[in-house]
């Protein structure tokens, strides 16, 4: 009994120490959905500032029913950025495309076909009615499809 145990444990010792020699890879850096335009990269959930992203064409503040701070919307012509307030900081919550003059980082724009979207982003989407949502951790990319064509593109941050 003892001998068997000893042999077993020794064999295992060797086996695992050998396995331990593999470099412990760090957790892969998962690429989140982010938006690029004119050389600037906007990351959902990050703090928004006009210094960083430039003066918008138009600006709106929307207060929700009772409190919860201000939702701010910055209109940049072809797209609109909405922020939510978190601990006195404005963080990017949504990037909404207004026309087909902007593309996602992967090159998709409004009026592109449904097939092109599928080819670029794959099959791992969630479909509710005609909205197709791709999720990477807390970032979402939403496409609305009408008549096989993309009619709406929005980046959303899952605040919860």
């Amino acid at each position: 009994m003892k001998k068997i145990k000893q042999i077993f444990i020794t064999l295992f010792l060797i086996g695992v120490l050998f396995g331990c020699n593999y470099n412990q890879k760090q957790k892969d850096e998962i690429q989140l959905y982010e938006f690029e335009h004119n050389g600037k990269t906007m990351k959902l959930g990050e703090v928004f500032s006009i210094e960083k992203y430039g003066q918008p064409e138009d600006y709106t503040e929307v207060e929700s029913c009772a409190f919860e701070g201000l939702d701010k919307t910055f209109n940049y012509g072809s797209y609109e950025v909405t922020t939510f307030s978190d601990n006195d900081k404005d963080k990017i919550y949504s990037i909404y495309f207004l026309d087909e003059n902007v593309k996602t980082k992967e090159g998709i724009k409004i009026t592109d076909s449904f097939d092109k979207m599928k080819k670029t982003y794959g099959d791992d989407y969630e479909k509710i009615d005609n909205m197709y949502t791709y999720t990477k951790q807390k970032t979402q990319l939403n496409f609305i499809i009408n008549n096989n064509e993309i009619t709406s593109i929005e980046y959303l941050y899952a605040v919860q």
Binding site: K2, I4, Q6, F12, V16, G19, K25, Q26, D28
Partner: protein
């Protein structure tokens, strides 16, 4: 009542995923029947094989967890059964005891199921022997007010440690880890982690023992004021006692214990701690071995100054917890080394309030830790005093504990009560 306990255990356990139930039943049934055959045919080899099968199953899951966390191979998704480390060892202890003819094989399947599937221990231990827990379960249990009072007191005391102390300390440590702080911050995390893991683990054990007490089931203690230890050897007699005893009885002593040459004894110690490391997880092997090495170097020496010993041992144990704070051993060692060349203590003191706790939290933390310290130091005396108290006084203690936990606990929306640390093993 036993039927109720078993059904309840199975239902709750299954509610976490029916696959959990399949694995534990597999281990339990195979072990039960292999032990039972020993009565008829003296084929001990069968038990040996079942023991090894159980070990292999546990190792498989340990490797699986390691792989998924550190990404050696492609990620897969298998459910890791809850409590596999605890029930595997508990069942193995039974099998070895039967093999060594220390106890008779259980012939009643119901009794054995009760022992293996006893819900409370599946989350955090303790690892009980069949001669102890089996008998507790089989005996006629009485519903006594005394048991209820003691049980609730213990449960609330455990909750006190978990939601008041542990839930606050973890805020600090999470912040330090997530923001990659180094130097004095790492030292702070280690020192605080000692308290955290103690309150978390022993708090959970208090709840398990308290709940068991409600049903007149007495489980073995798993802690004995561990931070009063003066060296590592003593520490491991006071921390996770049931695991230490398992390793002593089923690994260390069979290997020869200390009845062999010094060199061989040291090897035995290292092997035992190696197993302890694996039990926690593949990435804890280094931690286990370091424990063994330091224990060997200490050579059970203690200086004459008790308090100095305690402090020194506390620091050693705290630094060793680095492998629990940073699961990646290489990162752990890197962060640990920064303690010795980065002396950013001033920055630390300036930043006390960025971790996410407010001054009221620190106050509550300090007061509660002092309470636990006093309790650990004067444990016997306090337990005696409480035993002597009238029922009414005990009820008052329970109610006070309840109010403290409900008011000052960090639980509910916005607090994410983290799972118990030792449930991950």
């Amino acid at each position: 009542m036993n039927i109720f306990i078993l059904i309840f255990s199975i239902l709750i356990y299954a509610s976490f995923g029916i696959y959990n139930l399949i694995y534990i039943l597999l281990s339990t049934l195979i072990s039960f029947f292999s032990a039972k055959t020993l009565k008829k045919s003296k084929r001990k080899k069968l038990i040996l094989i079942v023991i090894i099968l159980n070990i292999l199953l546990l190792l498989f899951f340990k490797l699986y967890i390691y792989n998924n966390f550190f990404g050696i191979f492609e990620k897969t998704s298998i459910i890791v059964p809850i409590g596999i480390s605890y029930y595997t060892f508990q069942i193995i202890s039974y099998l070895i005891d039967v093999y060594n003819e220390k106890i008779d094989a259980e012939t009643n399947l119901f009794n054995f199921l009760l022992y293996a599937l006893y819900l409370p221990y599946l989350f955090i231990g303790p690892i009980s022997r069949y001669s102890q827990l089996g008998n507790q379960l089989k005996k006629k249990k009485k519903i006594k007010l005394e048991n209820f009072i003691y049980g609730f007191m213990r449960i609330l005391f455990g909750l006190f440690k978990k939601v008041i102390i542990a839930q606050r300390i973890i805020v600090i440590i999470n912040y330090i880890v997530e923001n990659n702080f180094t130097g004095s911050y790492v030292l702070l995390s280690c020192l605080l982690y000692s308290i955290l893991i103690y309150c978390d683990f022993s708090g959970g054990i208090d709840i398990v023992l308290g709940v068991s007490n409600l049903f007149d089931i007495k489980l073995v203690e798993n802690f004995d004021s561990p931070y009063l230890s003066e060296n590592l050897k003593e520490f491991w007699k006071r921390w996770n006692i049931t695991l230490s005893n398992f390793l002593k009885d089923y690994v260390y002593i069979p290997l020869g214990g200390n009845r062999v040459s010094k060199i061989r004894n040291n090897i035995n110690i290292l092997i035992t701690f190696f197993v302890s490391g694996i039990w926690h997880g593949i990435n804890y092997i280094l931690w286990g071995l370091l424990n063994g090495i330091i224990l060997i170097i200490e050579n059970n020496k203690k200086s004459k100054n008790r308090i100095l010993n305690i402090i020194f041992n506390y620091i050693i144990v705290s630094l060793l917890w680095i492998f629990f704070i940073y699961p990646n051993s290489i990162e752990a060692l890197t962060k640990l080394s920064t303690i010795f060349y980065e002396f950013n203590y001033i920055s630390l003191f300036k930043n006390l309030f960025i971790f996410g706790l407010e001054i009221s939290d620190y106050l509550i933390l300090i007061i509660s830790i002092v309470i636990i310290m006093i309790f650990d130091i004067k444990k016997l005396r306090i337990k005696e005093e409480i035993k002597k108290m009238t029922t009414n006084k005990k009820i008052i203690i329970i109610l006070i504990l309840f109010l403290l936990v409900i008011t000052f606990g960090r639980y509910g929306i916005g607090f994410n009560v983290n799972e118990f640390i030792y449930s991950k093993f």
